[in-house]
Amino acid sequence: MQKLISKFFLRRKVTSGQTADGKSHIASIPDELAIEIDHHGSPVSKRPSEWFVCFVPGLQKQWWHGFTNPRHKHVFALKMVGDGQWVIFEPWWNRIMVTVLDMDEAVKFLRWGAVGSILKVTERIPGDGSQARGWANCAVLISLMLGRSYWTWTPHGLYKRLSAEDGVEPVDLADFLEEKLNSMMQRIAGEALGNVSALTKLSPEAAFTELGKRISKIMFSLSSLSLHRFAVSEAPRFPVAADAFFTHGPHQAVASVKALISHFCERGQFRDCDQERTSRTFLSMLRGNLYLETVLGCRTEPDERDLESRTKSVVEVFLRGEVFIRGLEALPVNALKSRGGEMFASVNEKNRLGLLAHTKKIEPSQKLRADLMLGGIS
């Protein structure tokens, strides 16, 4: 009898998730596969997350809309899981969508939420909801996901119950985005740009290559690409948040480039120029077509090695100019006028730069032969 009672208690501990040795013991599962579980029966203990619960009007007409609150006909929830990444939990008629969204994608859902109401709610672990609650509509499923036991079947009913809870706050989307963009961009730019003044000890080539690599790395990161799309796409609706992106992102990068240009101008290594404009130009060159292609979704973001070789090529053109094009005569630029010369690089220049190796088989034209005879090859 005593044996029977002890067996009964042992089984109760297993089924409730609490075991004597902290392992789950199921007869058909080998011991070596047993995993440690917490007191809720979960292999990993997680702290409760904050969810943005969005109560929204419908986007397309449904037969049942007439029975629900005009602004709260559907409910879904999102939470931030990393730098600009979100998880969405949205009950559909035929599935539950659980997926990761980038910031620009998440804002599309949050904007929908802002048309209705957004509440910031902390989930409960283990919670007091129940799977046996029945009728798995959006309100019931969100309530269960948050660990609530509310007996309500409508989004608006859930909204009223959650609003009445202590610690649940309404979210102003514009304020939230402004704060988030400010903090994210300041941190990203601060960490990635690093100490630019230390670069002044390097040669112009080394300094601009290093700074170019740092800027490219941020610029082509998934989170920055997503934030750029957000800032351009949503600027009319969230101008302050978009401004935060440009101020702490591209403009900060321009300021770093300008500091380097200013340093080398003072040392006489760079010619006089409009430093602000030239700095923006450097950034524009780093972007190139690649940025447009990536941000428009034509290709995936480039890897670090691609970016490095591309940066070196951009820095070369930025510092020395395009080696194949020389002396645009009659341009309204004194420096150019004084240089004169031809439109394309001379053979001398190409030889000097070691660029003729692949053109050995090309027969020089008559004009070129004449030029060579007149100019000679140094």
Partner: protein, 205 residues
Amino acid sequence: MAIYASTTYVNQHIISAVANVLREERTTVTNIESAVDKAGIDRNEVRARFGSMHGLILEMVSELSDSLIEPLEYNGEDRQVHDVLIEFANRLADTYSASHLIALYRIALTEAIRHSGIGRDFFERGPGKLTVCLAQYLESSARRSNQLPIDNPKRVAENFLSLLRDNLELFDALNGTRTSSAKDHSDAVTDAIELFCHGIVTEGQ
């Protein structure tokens, strides 16, 4: 022929009316449908003529690109390469700062977020086409003047276009309201070409 001419005229009228709205409201418009509505054009008419709203966007981008590459298409011997490049560069600078391109870019980017598939076509008909045409022009000019071939004309063209992409203005939506004088444009073009030809390093460095 009369029908063709009439169709072309109506299509052109639609493009022009929508372009005007996008130009005037470049900082606020976020979708092509609202621009079509504001232009007083029936959405069904647009779908019937351009296949879809995306069709209209792509037609507008193509039209802009075609007007930009005009200077590159004239192959007369009387035109110097630098004259052609300066005219091309000036057109680019004007287009980036004063046309409906920024609004189109915002709309295309918004569509890209929705993964609607317009991004690649937008790129190929816009910046991609400009790059290819400029590369072909540089290559043929080098050939015509009996110079050695350019190693990678597409890369050279891309660098040239990047320099002239009016920098942040295209990307910074908030700068859409900024106006710049003709002198600013001229200076920007001159600086860009100077940088492209000679770089920023002083001689002897």
